[in-house]
Subunit: 349 residues, 2 copies
C-alpha cells in the first residue's frame, strides 16, 4: 500500500507527558523530526490535509490528562505524539469521494503542518469563503454550533428574559450574548479583565458586564445586576460562580452547562453547595455538547452567515502566528490570556 | 361577624421557636389552651374542617426555620402558632359552594383537631372512598402526584432503563420504584435500614436494594448495582449520594430533583464536586414540585386508582395515633425512623 508522493518535513506540537494540575507551556514541545508523504495511500478513503488554522479550546485540557475509567468524548492525547483538535485545513490529496484536492474543510485535525486523516466523519467541506476562513474554528465551527445549540435548544429563551453568561468574551460566550440580545433579552456577562469587560459592553452590545476578579462577593455582584433574578445562565466556568448563580436563579430558570473551565486544572473540584435551589425553584440544569447538534449544522449556517454578512453579529479572535506559538496560546486559555476566540495560524493558505 | 356555633376545645401542635440544625421533638409542643367555633363565619367562603389524618413531609423542615430573603413555596411557620401541612379532613361546616357538611377533603390544613380554612384553593374533594382515606396523605395526595410528575414528566423514562432511587422506601420513593417496575425498568433503591431494604425487594418489587449506611464507598456500591451506569436518578437526599451518582450516570441521563433531605438540617450544605459530569455526559438535572402538576390530578387518579384496586401497586404507611404523637413522628422523618409514609391519625372519622 501507499504510493510515493512528495515527502516533506512536518512540524508538530507534541505532548511530553500526561499533565496534572495547571498545564504549562513546557508540557508541550515543538518537534521537527517527522516527515510526511503528501500522497494519500490508495484505497484508504483518507485525505491529506495542509493545516491552516488551529482552534484552542478548553475541552483540550481534559485530553492532556491520564485517561480515567470513563468513556470520554474524545480519546486522550498520547505522550510523545502530536495533540489534535479542531481546525481549518486545505485538502492536498484525497482518496475520499466527498473531498477533492483544493477543497477547504473544517473539523478535527492534528497540531502539525500536515495531517493524514483516514476517518473523515468529522470533516466538513467549507462552501462559503466570503467570510474569514478562521471563522470556521469559531463562530462557524464548533464554538458557533455550541453557542447556537446551548442557547436556543437548551435554554428555551424568550424575549425579555434575563440572561447571564460567564467567560462571556470567549469563543462561545460572545456569541451567546449576541444571540440573546437579538432575541430581546437583558444580557449580562462576566470576564476576567477590564479589556474584556469593555469588549462585552462596547463591541458585543451586552447590557452590563463585570470583572469577576474585582468582586469579593459574587452573590452581591449578581444581585446588583439581576435584582429580579436570572432566567438563563450560560455556564462556562463552574465552581464558585455556579454556586452564586444558583442563589440568584428565578423560578423555572435554565442553566445550560457548556463547560466548567475554572475546575479543569484542580486536583479536586470545588464543592457546589446551593443545589437545593434546583429543587424548589424548579431549575433545569442541562449539559450538552455540540456533537449532538451536528445534523443542524446547515440550518445553523443559514441563520448565522446572514447575521455575519449584515454585520448584525460580530466575532473577535485572538490570533497567534506559527505552530511554535501554539503551546503558549493553548495554555494561556486557562489563565484567560486570550481576548476572544484563540486561534493559531499555521499557514494562511 | 360570625354566628355562634358550638365552641369546642381545639388541641394544637405549636412551634415553640424557629429551629436551627436538627429539629427536636421539644421544638414542638402540644397545646390544649385554644377553643374554636365550629360554625364558619357567614359570607367568609370558608370551611370548618375536622382533621382526620396529617401528613409528615420533609419539606416541613424548611418552614420551621427563620424565613430568609427568598420567595419560599409556603410561608414559614410562626412561633407560638400551630404548624400546618397536608392532611385529610371532614367538612363540619361550609360557607363555600364547592364543599358541604360531611364532605371528605384533602389538602393543606393545620396540625390541630379542627381548622377554619378560608382559602380553599388547596383543598380537594375526595370522591373515591373505597381505598383507605389515609392514602390521600400519600399515594393519592401530594407524594403521589410528586412521584407521578417526577417520574413520568421529568425523567421521560423508557422501558429497560436503569433507575436508581434514594430514600426509596419513603412516601414518594416507594411509588417511583413501582412506577418504574411497571414500565419495565431495572430498579435499585437505597434506604437506611435492613427492614427498609427488605421492604424494597420483597414488598415493592425492586430488583435490588442496599443500605447506604453500610457502604463505606457509595461510588463502589453504585458500580456494583449499575455496572453499565444509571439512566434515571430520582433524587430525594442530595449531598454525598448525589456526588456518587453523578460519577455513575450514563450519557443523556436524567436526574429528577424531588428533595435533598440529607441537607435540610445542616447549617451549611455539603459541597457537590462531580458536577462536571453533567456537561460531557449531557445530563439533565431538573427540580420540580407537585404544585405545578395539580391540573393533572384527575388524570393521575385515573391512572393510580385502578393500580391500587387491582393490587398492581402497594403502599406502606407508618401510622401513629393521636395529635400528641405528631411531634415525634415529624421529627423522626429526619433520622429515618419512619418505615413508609409517615401519617398521624388525629381522628378516624
Amino acid at each position: 500500500m501507499g504510493q510515493i508522493g512528495e515527502i516533506v518535513k512536518n512540524k508538530q506540537v507534541i505532548l511530553k507527558n500526561f499533565v496534572r494540575g495547571f498545564p504549562k507551556e513546557s508540557d508541550l514541545l515543538i518537534s521537527s523530526e517527522n516527515s510526511i508523504n503528501l500522497k494519500v495511500p490508495e484505497g484508504s478513503n483518507g485525505v491529506l490535509l495542509k493545516n491552516l488554522y488551529l482552534s484552542c479550546d478548553p475541552y483540550m485540557r481534559s485530553l492532556m490528562s491520564e485517561p480515567v475509567d470513563i468513556a470520554g468524548l474524545f480519546p486522550s492525547y498520547v505522550p510523545s505524539s502530536p495533540i489534535g483538535g479542531y481546525g481549518v485545513s486545505k485538502v492536498v490529496d484525497s482518496e475520499h469521494p466527498k473531498f477533492k484536492k483544493g477543497d477547504l474543510v473544517w473539523g478535527t485535525t492534528g497540531w502539525e503542518e500536515y495531517s493524514l486523516n483516514t476517518s473523515t466523519d468529522s470533516l466538513f467541506k467549507i462552501d462559503h469563503t466570503d467570510v474569514p476562513l478562521s471563522y470556521y474554528t469559531g463562530i462557524l465551527g464548533m464554538p458557533g454550533i455550541t453557542a447556537y445549540a446551548g442557547f436556543y435548544k437548551i435554554c428555551n429563551p424568550e424575549e425579555g428574559e434575563k440572561v447571564f453568561i460567564s467567560a462571556a468574551s470567549g469563543a462561545v460566550g460572545q456569541l451567546v450574548g449576541q444571540f440573546a440580545k437579538l432575541m430581546g433579552c437583558y444580557v449580562v456577562g462576566t470576564a476576567g479583565s477590564k479589556e474584556k469587560v469593555d469588549l462585552l459592553k462596547e463591541k458585543f452590545g451586552f447590557d452590563e458586564a463585570f470583572n469577576y476578579k474585582e468582586e469579593a462577593d459574587l452573590d452581591k455582584a449578581l444581585k446588583r445586576y439581576f435584582p429580579e433574578g436570572i432566567d438563563i445562565y450560560f455556564e462556562n466556568v463552574g465552581g464558585k460562580m455556579l454556586d452564586a448563580v444558583l442563589l440568584n436563579m428565578r423560578i423555572r430558570g435554565r442553566i445550560a452547562v457548556c463547560g466548567m473551565i475554572s475546575q479543569y486544572n484542580l486536583e479536586k473540584p470545588e464543592g457546589v453547595e446551593n443545589l437545593m435551589n434546583i429543587n424548589y425553584k424548579r431549575i433545569k440544569m442541562e449539559g450538552f455538547i455540540f456533537l449532538d447538534y451536528l445534523p443542524e449544522y446547515p440550518k445553523f449556517l443559514d441563520t448565522v452567515l446572514p447575521l455575519i454578512r449584515e454585520a448584525k453579529i460580530t466575532y473577535i479572535e485572538d490570533t497567534v502566528e506559527g505552530l511554535e506559538s501554539g503551546p503558549a496560546a493553548l495554555v494561556g486559555l486557562f489563565s484567560g490570556l486570550n481576548v476572544g476566540k484563540q486561534v493559531v495560524v499555521v499557514a494562511h493558505e
